[in-house]
């Protein structure tokens, strides 16, 4: 057997008392697609940072083509032939594609443009080299990132959760690109927590849990259930049985809402109509950046309509278009925004104080003074019920991992027992176990008669829990699709606009 391209032995890295990586062994063979599988917080990102030279390991050895190396910076890693595509893109929006690329690739602009076009043709990564990045779709941006890596002629390409931002059709194109790359001798380190994807294209998989390796397997020889078990260390919780029920009265209605945001880089909403009944879950699917954020702000009350347009948003039968967020919450509405830090929670404040922000009406304030004991009890209830891993209610919200904070925020809002509940990206960055738990509780709320609106980019999630789905694309909503007689591909077609008549 030839020496592996990249070989790690006993790699460890700690941040303070957190041991993010413990004794990691990993071999990546030349010309293979190798998956690193693990939940959020399992140490995948830390490991990639060590390989890419963003961080240095505390202990352990790294061999590259048989030689011991210790990349001290991304530059060093790149010069050895390691490229990385980040989960959150590291592109510069105000620069053009070719300018972005020239930041790490030497050469004249004209030559770079020609090479970008050539690579685009060779690997199905077409993108206009002279376009400004802010004008590109998410999928195109990812192509730019990949092209940028390919221009440095890497032997190993690291992709951090590459499919989390793509519609299903683009995922297929991406996979074709990756297979082509592999066949031309580029190894790929593919980080993901999506089991089916890994089974479909990866040759090997290394599974991480709590910072340590729990298995090296051939993913095609195990089913998703096995992999999940290795990943979370216990059986997957079963999904909640689906109770069919008659929809109740309409609790949220948008009637032909048109909205032109002030910020020219936001998406305008056009003739958006939806009806959400008590006792059902409506999902809004779509590729991010198609108006979800604008829609969410209009429903939450962060964006108010002028008084004449108050009828465009109705909650519980009342026009609320001109009401602010607090007034809408007083009607029995609760909301979990997409951004946890800054909108869902104040990072500098303790969890207790963050409870107060939306639960102040639940006996946490008496005669205008904060009841610390009630606040503490409420917070502890959220922590215990939603399995938030934290030292206690006094922990700073910003110190929690993304998934843990999300569990806390969702818990806080669910504890308010809203009649109308709106969640944007409920399980984004949350580990599988907790995500399943959050979905179960959403279904519980529905079964108890609440109306639930979910915006999500994960179609599988929507298919798991929703009664109906509407797809948002370029600020327009598709007609309502009943989940029980709709296929994923159909939703996918609306997502990329292949379906005519998106009204």
């Amino acid at each position: 057997m030839p020496a592996p391209l990249l070989s790690l032995r006993g790699l460890s890295k700690s941040y303070g008392t957190v041991r993010a990586n413990r004794d990691i062994d990993l071999d990546v063979a030349a010309g293979s697609i190798h998956a690193v599988l693990g939940e959020n917080g399992a140490g995948k990102s830390t490991l990639m940072k060590l390989i890419y030279g963003v961080e240095s390991p505390d202990a352990g050895e790294m061999r590259w083509q048989g030689n011991v190396v210790s990349p001290s910076s991304p530059n060093a890693a790149r010069s050895q032939g390691i490229g990385m595509v980040f989960q959150h893109f590291s592109l510069f929006e105000t620069l053009t594609v070719v300018e972005n690329i020239s930041l790490i690739v030497p050469g004249k602009k004209r030559e770079l443009v020609a090479r970008i076009r050539q690579l685009g043709q060779d690997y199905g990564l077409e993108v206009d080299p002279l376009a400004h990045v802010h004008a590109l779709s998410v999928g195109e941006r990812q192509r730019v990132e990949i092209i940028r890596c390919l221009m440095t002629d890497p032997k190993l390409l690291i992709l951090d959760e590459p499919t989390s931002v793509l519609p299903p059709q683009s995922v297929r194109t991406l996979f074709e690109t990756l297979l082509k790359l592999r066949d031309r001798g580029v190894s790929i380190l593919f980080i993901s927590h999506k089991l089916e994807e890994i089974r479909s294209i990866c040759d090997h998989a290394t599974i991480l849990r709590d910072g340590a390796v729990t298995g090296h397997v051939d993913p095609r020889e195990h089913d998703a259930h096995d992999l999940a078990q290795m990943m979370i260390g216990r059986d997957m919780p079963a999904p909640r049985p689906f109770v069919p029920r008659e929809p109740g009265p309409v609790l949220l209605e948008l009637a032909g809402l048109d909205h032109q945001p002030d910020d020219p880089f936001q998406m305008a909403l056009k003739a958006v109509s939806l009806k959400l009944h008590a006792g059902e879950i409506l999902g809004i699917a779509g590729v991010s950046g198609n108006g979800q954020a604008e829609l969410a702000r209009l429903i939450s009350g962060e964006t108010r309509r002028h008084a004449e347009a108050r009828d465009e948003v109705r909650m519980f039968g009342k026009p609320v278009g001109d009401l602010g967020a607090a007034a809408r919450r007083r009607l029995g509405f609760a909301f979990v925004p997409e951004e946890r830090l800054g909108r869902g929670a104040v990072p500098e404040m303790s969890l207790s104080d963050n409870s107060l922000l939306t639960a102040h009406g639940r006996g946490l304030v008496t005669r205008g003074l904060i009841d610390r004991r009630a606040e503490d009890a409420f917070t502890r209830r959220c922590i215990a019920q939603y399995d938030v891993r934290t030292p206690g209610p006094q922990a700073e919200a910003g110190a929690l991992s993304g998934g843990n904070l999300q569990k806390f925020i969702v818990g806080r809002e669910m504890e308010l027992a809203p009649k109308l509940f709106f969640v944007s990206q409920p399980t984004w960055g949350v580990d599988i176990g907790a995500a399943t738990e959050i979905r179960r509780r959403l279904v519980d709320m529905r079964n108890a008669g609440a109306a639930v609106l979910v915006i999500s980019e994960e179609i599988e999630e929507l298919f798991d829990i929703c009664d109906r789905i509407q797809v948002i694309r370029e600020g327009r909503l598709s007609p309502s699709l009943t989940v029980s007689d709709t296929r994923v591909e159909e939703v996918g077609r609306y997502m990329i606009g292949a379906e005519e008549g998106t009204a």
């Binding site: 105000t94 620069l95 930041l103 400004h132």
Partner: protein, 303 residues
Amino acid sequence: MSALSFIIAGMLAAAMPFLLAALGELVAERSGVLNLGIEGMMALGAVVAFIVVRHSGGHAMGFVAAGLASAALSLVFAWLALGVRANQVAAGLAIGILGQGLSALFGKRYESLTVPGLPKLSVPGLSELPLVGGLFSQDAVVWLGLLATLAIWATLRFSKLGLVIRAVGENPHAARALGYNVIGIRYGAVAFGGLMAGFAGAYAATVYTPLWAEGMIAGRGWIALALVVFATWMTGRVVFGAVLFGAVSLAQLAAQAGGVALNSQLLASLPYIVTILVLGAISANKRLLKVNGVASLGEPFGR
């Protein structure tokens, strides 16, 4: 000499202090650092240049000394803002006040003294033209300043260095992930801003009005700061704004001399009003602001 040809002849020189300071600040802000201490750095540069020229080091020496002094002061600011990640607004204000204080202190003994100015260098032929001829007869600093403007514009727009500065200003985290030394680049940009502010002060004190009076910078640094913002961080618009300001301030002088029946205070405030209105109007374009604005401006950056 008609009022119009007076304005045309003098507007570049009048614009020069604003232009030099604003271009320096433009570079610093493009890299993501808001330096509010420009006024103080100009004041320090002004006094250093004045003292050197007064003791007959010559103008060239005066400008070099002024540039170095202000760059040094801007590095103190950079250390506060980048080294220990102090709030950029507070640090900038504090350093600006320090610069003004140092300027007053060093200048105490030179109050009301004068130095020789600089001779005009004319473009043969062109400077003989009627009406606009004065435009082609400027001192050496104006000519060099115009060259520097061109160089800064080209650097920001076409060179790798400019690209890196813009990238660092837009998204320092991504720039670091690509392997760029964000803090180092910002130190450099701030020091360049200080250097230019020093030149601007030196021009004001030893060429434009070669006479020392405490507080002679008189808010020019603040106007330069405003120019950068109103010009939506575009070099061409900074030049336009600075020249507009220079032209209107000469126009109001001409108006006063010509005995226009308007309150002199109102006339004196005219350049500020006109510049703000005009640049305010052209910077109302939100798209341009978004494309040219500096996303990370003023935000502390650290690992």
